[in-house]
């Protein structure tokens, strides 16, 4: 189905109290927009709104100042009801320079609030952003509520007493702006002040200047004569399940999930990886967490990373490796060795725009087919996907469970959006997790490396250092009976069938598929996997509020698929599959279940908007209606 977008019916900033708001901070890479966004997120979470964030930054580390390709942005959607995406259109856009304005203004709703730093709209910056005229003066912004302030001048005045100099003084611009936006939504400044004190602990004068700028921005809102229609907006607190909450990014949730998995499996973990965007944050987080039974190894390349992980698994600990698409492609031969030798391994793929270098900092779901099929030989392997930042925690535990219980590599799919996005996360009770301790083989009597659990079909894990279990494994086909090299034709057939049966059998050990919203049968099922969860969920929720018969089904287990999935999908008149690729999952569903599922694809490096999926639901429902 062709991608189209519907404007969502929302009340933007027309009342003093609004149900939800989308704010985007945009500026130069060096303007500190990510820091601004994360501090605003913190304050918003503490206020009690539900929220979802989307950091959107360029691949260039230090792009030339003022360039459009150097614009870094941070978007946050917060509100009184459950929020699962970073929002479609913007209610508030904060732009620190002309480049940030030109690249983001199209997403601001009519009547939305535009905050600009007039001081940055110099002739030079306007030229870099390819503006012929100054948009602040030519009337082109008349349909928005514009709050143009010479923030640069305000900041320099606010930090004057600290004698930082012009350049360092201007670096506090982001905190001044944050102060103003915190005022706008009645958010408390305490958490930001505390985090600035921690961040600049070694440079107290910088901390003080930033705090002064923050307070000055806030005071400006309180005291300045603002244009009509700009005032403090109240966003009621969300009703959420009681508990202790924290903000969680997908990358941290995944890292902590691996730590939790290693504790539940009662096994050490070696995380071997090679830096690549957007997967490196996992390596950084785990390298800083070696107080747990985790060790990290920055290998010389992607191949060495997967191989070191396999070596660790052979030695009796759990090897984990991580990368994005291009790196996963390089690991393919190693992964197949782990399949052949039946050793546990977790491979985390934080997907990004492809092919080749593609869009390294942008998100996509285009590695599903590679995960399912991208290896030589008949090489089946479990594949699971996380759907929200917080879900990365649970999925990481599940990957460790499956890998160690079934002695198999497991591919865990995340993506650039999930890795960087954050959401409030209800901290689980550690004591409530069910442990799944690994049992290394120790019985010498009757030992052979080909012994396997007849129920799970998992091969024994006999680690070096155990007397009497000396044995050899390798990539050459192994005898079903002894584990020794075997070129026997019947044996190869038997082993191929065994590898397939082992992975298929995991379907008996995973939950049956349910609809996460709506009924288990009906007119239309919108079926997704991975990070499209949020947008699909909101779209289906809105469609159901309109009275439409739509359900949302979100699949975590992509190989093997839940054993009732075909039956479930057959209970619907129609199936729509939105994906951030050209239709990889829909093809699987169509071929496996012979269902006329329809694809909705977006490959723009950006997540789906709610309105895009809602538009597709409307068209699909209309189509079903006209047929019946």
């Amino acid at each position: 189905m062709e991608l189209a977008e519907e404007k969502l019916d929302e009340h933007h900033l027309d009342e003093k109290e609004v149900v939800d708001v989308v704010v985007r901070f945009a500026g130069d890479s060096g303007d500190g927009m990510q820091l601004t966004g994360s501090n605003f997120t913190e304050a918003t979470a503490l206020y009690g709104n539900d929220l979802s964030t989307f950091p959107d930054f360029p691949a260039e580390i230090r792009a030339p100042v003022g360039a459009t390709f150097g614009v870094s942005a941070f978007q946050i959607y917060f509100g009184a009801e459950d929020v699962t995406t970073a929002g479609d259109a913007l209610d508030v856009l904060v732009t620190m320079n002309p480049a940030a304005l030109t690249t983001n203004i199209a997403n601001l709703v009519e009547g939305g609030l535009l905050i600009v730093d007039r001081g940055a709209f110099t002739a030079k910056n306007l030229t870099k952003a390819k503006y012929q005229e100054n948009p602040l003066e030519d009337g082109s912004l008349d349909k928005y509520r514009v709050l143009d302030i010479d923030i640069s001048k305000q900041v320099l005045a606010a930090v004057d007493e600290f004698n930082l100099g012009h350049k360092a003084g201007l670096r506090c611009k982001n905190m001044w702006t944050l102060g103003l936006v915190l005022w706008l939504f009645d958010r408390d400044r305490t958490a930001t002040i505390e985090s600035l004190k921690t961040k600049f602990a070694s440079k107290p004068e910088i901390a003080c200047a930033n705090i002064a700028a923050l307070n000055a921005g806030h005071a400006y809102g309180e005291t300045a004569e603002l244009p009509a229609g700009i005032h403090v907006y109240k966003v009621p607190k969300a009703k959420v399940i009681p508990g202790t909450y924290r903000n969680m990014t997908g990358a941290n949730a995944l890292a902590w999930g691996l730590i939790a998995g290693s504790e539940l499996a009662n096994i050490d973990l070696l995380f071997a990886s090679y830096p690549i965007t957007p997967a490196s944050s996992l390596l950084h987080e785990l390298a800083a967490r070696r107080e747990f039974n985790i060790n990290t190894f920055q290998a010389e390349d992607e191949i060495a990373a997967v191989c070191a992980a396999i070596g660790a698994s052979f030695a009796g600990t759990l090897g984990v490796t991580s990368s994005a698409g291009p790196g996963i492609a390089l690991k393919a031969e190693g992964i197949a060795l782990a399949v052949a030798t039946e050793l546990p391994l977790v491979i985390v793929n934080t997907q990004r725009g492809g092919p080749s270098t593609g869009l390294p900092t942008k998100t996509e779901q285009s590695d599903l087919s590679m995960s399912l099929y991208g290896r030589h030989g008949d090489t089946p392997m479990p594949v699971i996907a996380s759907s929200t930042p917080g879900d990365c925690f649970d999925v990481a535990i599940e990957a460790v469970r499956i890998a160690t219980k079934y002695m198999t590599p497991v591919m865990l799919l995340s993506d650039g959006y999930l890795a960087n996005a954050s959401e409030p996360w209800k901290i689980p009770d550690v004591a409530s997790f069910s442990p799944f301790p690994v049992q290394h083989h120790s019985e010498v009597e009757g030992f052979k490396p080909s012994l396997r659990n007849q129920e799970t079909l998992a091969r024994v894990w006999a680690k070096p250092g155990t007397a009497g279990l000396e044995h050899r494994v390798g990539g050459i086909e192994r005898s079903y009976d002894t584990g020794d090299i075997s070129y026997d034709p019947d044996n190869h057939q038997k082993m191929t069938d065994l590898r397939q049966a082992k992975v298929e059998g995991i379907a008996n050990d995973i939950p049956l598929q349910e609809a996460c919203l709506g009924d288990a049968s009906g007119k239309l099922a919108v079926v997704g996997w991975g990070s499209t969860f949020g947008a699909i969920h909101q779209a289906v929720k809105r469609a159901r509020a309109e009275g439409l018969d739509v359900s949302h089904i979100h699949v975590r287990y992509l190989s093997p698929l839940p054993r009732n999935l075909g039956e479930l999908l057959n209970s619907f008149d129609s199936v729509l599959v939105p994906e951030m690729n050209t239709g990889q999952f829909v093809q699987l569903i169509r071929s496996k279940y012979l269902i006329d599922a329809e694809a909705l694809n977006k490959v723009a490096g950006q997540p789906f908007k709610i309105g895009e999926i809602l538009a597709a639901i409307h068209r699909k429902i209309a189509e079903i209606g006209s047929k019946s």
Binding site: I259, F314, G334, E470
Partner: protein
């Protein structure tokens, strides 16, 4: 390890698998020597792990009655690094060849040596691709005629020991497949070395490159074509030990001189400049150096990693505390 180890013999180190190298292959001699040496190294057999890549030499682990892992082409050093990091108690060996170790796996070889991962790396150099039926390898001499170079190879070969020194290797030695005593002595010293020990074993392929090392292997002439390096001893060779090697201080090159010349070099395993020169010597102008060419005491990667883990784990992590770290808030 206070318990006395059971006394094992060569038989305890032979697996039940039928050895399948070509008749006359140099690998047989190396296998026998290593199997025989193993009991003398006094390691618990269950702690010994042999890891290989792909190629004729890489079948080696199947024939050793220890733990063994026959992996994928060129990647044995990376897999072995993972094994050793996961369990530093293990005695980990890498078996590789000139193609496996320096062509497809060159990058891993460079980095495992640079990191000084505590492994014994035995590189069987036969200057040819055997398992794929005789193509030239990165150590084949220029002009080697092979199925993929019918009119002679045009690549310049690399010298494994020279590259190993250049990569930051801390124990570099060379020996010859059939010289069991010398192989044993060199490997024993490599085994005792803390960090990566790199041992090049010149190995004859009777099928695709027969006789390539005849000058240094043929008892009748070998004395004139190889020089056995011994730390602290003059570098002399020849049937009558009549020739020596000196450094010309003007040209900064090695030269052959009479053995009784004042200037004859005394081998110093710890001199990297000298080691690099000795590693690259080859016929017809110079003898091939065998023995321990270079040795350096340097922190081993695994020791350093363990040290960092001990520091990090001084206070054991608590998952519950981690989940509750930083800003949290209560919803009633």
């Amino acid at each position: 390890m206070n318990q006395a180890l059971p006394k094992l013999t060569i038989k305890d180190y032979a697996s039940d698998q039928e050895v399948r190298w070509c008749p006359g292959c140099g690998d047989y001699a190396i296998l026998k020597t290593i199997q025989k040496l193993m009991p003398e190294l006094e390691q618990p057999r269950e702690n010994q792990v042999f890891i290989s890549g792909i190629g004729c030499s890489s079948r080696f682990p199947y024939y050793m009655n220890t733990f063994g892992f026959h992996t994928i082409h060129g990647r044995a050093p990376a897999i072995a690094s993972g094994v050793k990091l996961a369990n530093p108690e293990l005695d980990v060996w890498v078996i590789t060849g000139d193609g496996d170790g320096f062509s497809i796996g060159g990058n891993h070889m460079l980095h495992v040596l640079r990191r000084n991962v505590d492994l014994q790396i035995l590189l069987f150099n036969n200057e040819i691709y055997g398992l794929t039926k005789g193509q030239y390898s990165p150590t084949s001499q220029t002009g080697t005629r092979s199925p993929s170079s019918p009119t002679g190879s045009i690549d310049f070969p690399l010298s494994p020991c020279e590259v190993a020194i250049g990569s930051g290797g801390t124990f570099i030695a060379r020996t010859i497949d059939t010289e069991a005593k010398h192989v044993s002595a060199v490997v024993t010293r490599g085994h005792a070395h803390s960090g990566a020990s790199f041992i090049e074993i010149l190995q004859n392929c009777p099928i695709y490159n027969d006789g390539v090392f005849d000058q240094v292997k043929d008892k009748k002439i070998a004395a004139d074509f190889k020089v056995e390096l011994v730390h602290g001893e003059p570098i002399v060779f020849g049937k009558e030990r009549e020739q020596g090697i000196r450094l010309n201080h003007n040209t900064l090159k090695l030269e052959l001189v009479d053995a009784d010349h004042d200037d004859v070099l005394v081998h110093d395993e710890t001199n990297k400049v000298l080691a690099t020169m000795l590693a690259t010597m080859r016929g017809p102008d110079f003898p091939v150096a065998v023995g321990v060419i270079y040795r350096e005491e340097k922190a081993s990667y695994v020791d350093e990693s363990q040290q960092q883990l001990i520091t990090a784990r001084a206070a054991k992590g608590s998952l519950k505390e981690l989940l509750h770290s930083g800003h949290t808030w209560e919803v009633e």
